[in-house]
């Protein structure tokens, strides 16, 4: 019920101004009425006001309207000469209200005096309309007081404010839910790690102990292990719900993002599902974070994969011409962007699965709704996609018929700006050009190698993994020196990163080297010369920045060229100095 209160507050501003105006007219009118015959000419200026206004005299069981403005007449479909309203619940005005309680309050105020206000919704031509109605009825007169009682009624169309608050509420709901989920996931993970930690300790002690029945105990502890393992899976899913930090928005060509992601999408779908892209040659400029777009595609693909357990195909269609956003979807936009002539480009993803029935379609975007009853899905996928499309200023729609596949339409707002592409070695330019890059990733920590490799692989780079310096050199040898890039940690057993870099440079001079480390001073002794164009990641970096650095290193053969937008330490013989912005 919270949003109703918000509507009251929101509409109160409009209503307050109008009430003030109404009260002003009310008293001015009747002040004038003492001197001359009351006419409605004084108030005719109210015909130009967009809100509805009625001024009346209460006469027995009737309200005699002294003035009704045009807007009011239109809202209630009143004829020009209709001025009489019977004061019961069947009254035109009263029937406008939605609930019996509202009607009772209204008639009560009519009979006994008072002020009332309501939020009323009505079905309009294009959808639901929201009105804010206020009514003032003079109090009952004292005995002997023959003055007539008067009333005024005002009407404001607050549909816009309502939509705006509603969509803000949706957004806030999702944001609040995301924050909540992240908090829960984090705390839960802490608890899990204690459970599994002590469990492991117990297992170890039991393994060493060997007494009768210890095997049974061990099997019980294994069950605890697997249960806490499932718990970890769940927290990981919850964490992806709140994953996105504020990422950089740039102007991309949407088709380039999709095409650049093509390999990754095919891998994600697996062998049984074909992925086709239509409209790959069109240019559609969208201001967005490429990461968000890829995330949305992954979420939709997950749904498609689930719907086609025995394989099928997915068609991504970008060929449609840009057009204005359909009216039925306008409410997904922020209020100030609704009903403009902004063009949107449509991207449809269609699978050949079992489709969604009307029930499922209606709930598909709700968080935690999953048509799977087996608890295997968090039900967050489409609601995240919905939230992400909103963040991009676009819209999403499900067009689906049961047993005929599911089509999900994404509407992206077109941007008139230049592609961020053209200025620097672009977001897309570099994503594309990373397709044929070969890189060695070396670190003695396996997890880090896996993480970095997966980010690079997603960007299209072919990765050779190494867990120490010697393995890295082996890869270099096997690939016959065709390695473009070495990403390595500095301190590694057997052959440290710096020596490795020197050796790689001497065997393969064109290979660029990026050190993953902070604080060069930590790892270097004085006089330990670095290769001339080595590059460090010194400030906290995320994977977008990592890919930026890589693309930059590979596209600039001139090492004096400063990378922009992030900080790196760049070496020049044995000196280390900071460059970049």
């Amino acid at each position: 019920m919270l949003w109703e209160n918000l509507i009251y507050i929101g509409a109160f501003a409009a209503g307050a101004v109008l009430s003030f105006l109404a009260t002003y007219c009310f008293y001015r009118f009747f002040k004038g009425a003492k001197q001359k015959n009351t006419t409605s000419q004084d108030l005719s200026f109210l015909n130009g006001v967009s809100d509805g206004f009625l001024l009346g005299e209460l006469d027995g069981d009737n309200i005699k309207a002294l003035f009704i403005n045009d807007s009011m007449r239109r809202t209630f479909h009143l004829a020009d000469d209709q001025n009489l309203f019977t004061m019961n619940s069947k009254c035109t005005l009263c029937r406008f209200l939605n609930t019996r309680k509202q009607q009772e309050q209204f008639t009560n105020a009519m009979q006994n005096g008072g002020d009332v206000h309501f939020l009323v919704n009505k079905q309009g031509v294009d959808g639901e309309l929201q009105y804010y109605m206020t009514a003032h009825f003079d109090a009952l007169r004292a005995d002997g007081d023959d003055r007539p009682r008067h009333c005024y009624i005002t009407f404001s169309n607050v549909t816009r404010q309502y939509m705006e608050l509603n969509s803000k509420f949706q957004k806030n709901k999702l944001e609040a839910l995301a924050r909540f989920s992240a908090g829960v996931a984090h705390d839960f993970n802490n608890i899990l790690s204690i459970v599994s930690g002590f469990n492991n300790i117990l297992k170890k002690q039991l393994e060493d102990a060997e007494f009768e029945g210890s095997e049974t105990f061990l099997s019980y502890l294994d069950k605890i292990s697997s249960a806490s393992g499932r718990g970890s899976e769940l927290t990981r899913k919850l964490q992806t719900f709140s994953r996105h930090k504020v990422s950089q928005s740039q102007v991309h060509n949407l088709s380039d993002i999709i095409l650049g992601n093509y390999e990754a999408m095919k891998m994600h779908c697996g062998a049984g599902i074909d992925v086709d892209i239509l409209g790959r040659n069109v240019e559609r400029r969208v201001e967005c974070s490429a990461d968000k777009v890829r995330h949305i595609m992954t979420l939709l693909l997950n749904n498609a994969i689930d719907a086609m357990p025995s394989g099928g195909n997915v068609i991504i269609d970008m060929s449609g011409d840009p057009s204005v956003l359909p009216e039925r979807l306008q409410s997904q936009l922020p209020a100030e962007q609704q009903f403009t002539d902004r063009l949107f480009t449509k991207l449809s993803m269609t699978d050949s699965g079992h489709g969604m029935d009307a029930n499922t379609k209606a709930k598909a975007f709700d968080p935690f709704f999953s048509s799977r009853q087996d608890g295997s899905h968090t039900g967050l996928g489409l609601s995240i996609a919905y939230g992400l499309m909103q963040e991009l200023g676009g819209a999403i729609e499900i067009v689906s018929y049961p047993m005929r596949g599911c089509q999900i339409d994404l509407y992206f707002p077109l941007s008139q700006k230049e592609l961020t592409v053209a200025k620097q070695s672009s977001a897309d330019g570099k994503r594309m050009s990373l397709q044929h890059v070969k890189a060695i990733v070396a670190d003695d920590e396996e997890d880090l190698v896996e993480l970095i490799s997966s980010v690079l692989t997603q960007a299209g780079i072919t990765v050779y993994k190494a867990y120490n310096g010697n393995e890295a050199l082996l890869h270099l040898d096997e690939q016959e020196g065709e390695i473009d890039l070495l990403v390595t940690d500095v301190v590694m057993p057997e052959l440290n990163g710096i020596d490795l870099a020197h050796m790689v440079k001497s065997l393969s001079p064109q290979t660029k080297v990026i050190f993953m480390s902070g604080y060069p001073s930590q790892d270097f002794e004085k006089g330990n010369a670095l290769p001339d164009d080595a590059c460090f990641m010194a400030k906290p970096v995320d994977h977008e920045v990592l890919l930026d650095v890589i693309a930059d290193r590979l596209s600039n053969s001139n090492e004096n060229n400063k990378p922009s937008g992030y900080s790196v330490w760049q070496s020049n013989s044995s000196q280390i100095r900071e460059t970049g912005s």
Binding site: N190, V195, G197, Q239, G518
Partner: protein
């Protein structure tokens, strides 16, 4: 399994605000033969301990997420006075961004929750190697 002798000599400072988690780490380390374990409940305690007796500690093992001072914050402050103290960060999230942030702040190694004694042992050995390399 390789010689535990190397590990048993380790003197570790565990920085963790939650008592249960602290005792779990201590128990796990004991199982690995590491018994010289000191505890700090927050970053400030850790920093003053290290300030008083830096030679008494071979390795700091610190939780990423702590209320008053975060693990990264502690790391950065430590690095201004001691660029070499080995630092093992215990992270809640194993995504690349958290890891990169830890790495680029000067962490020597990281391990993500939940972890097993075997995983912890592997990490400690890696760090030992790195300590020896630097020495």
């Amino acid at each position: 399994m390789a010689d535990n002798g190397a590990l048993t000599d380790l003197k570790i400072l565990v920085v963790e605000d939650q008592a249960e988690a602290r005792s779990m780490i201590k128990a796990m380390l004991a199982q690995l033969g590491v018994n010289q374990v000191f505890e700090a409940i927050d970053g400030r305690e850790a920093l003053s301990f290290l300030d008083m007796a830096p030679d008494m500690i071979d390795l700091v093992m610190c939780d990423w997420n702590m209320p008053k001072m975060s693990g990264v914050e502690l790391l950065r402050q430590l690095r201004t006075v001691d660029p070499r103290m080995p630092f093992l960060m215990v992270t809640g999230r194993a995504d690349l961004d958290s890891v990169m942030e830890a790495k680029s702040s000067g962490v020597t190694g990281y391990i993500s929750k939940p972890f097993s004694a075997t995983q912890l042992e592997a990490k400690l050995r890696i760090i030992l190697q790195r300590i020896r390399k630097a020495a």
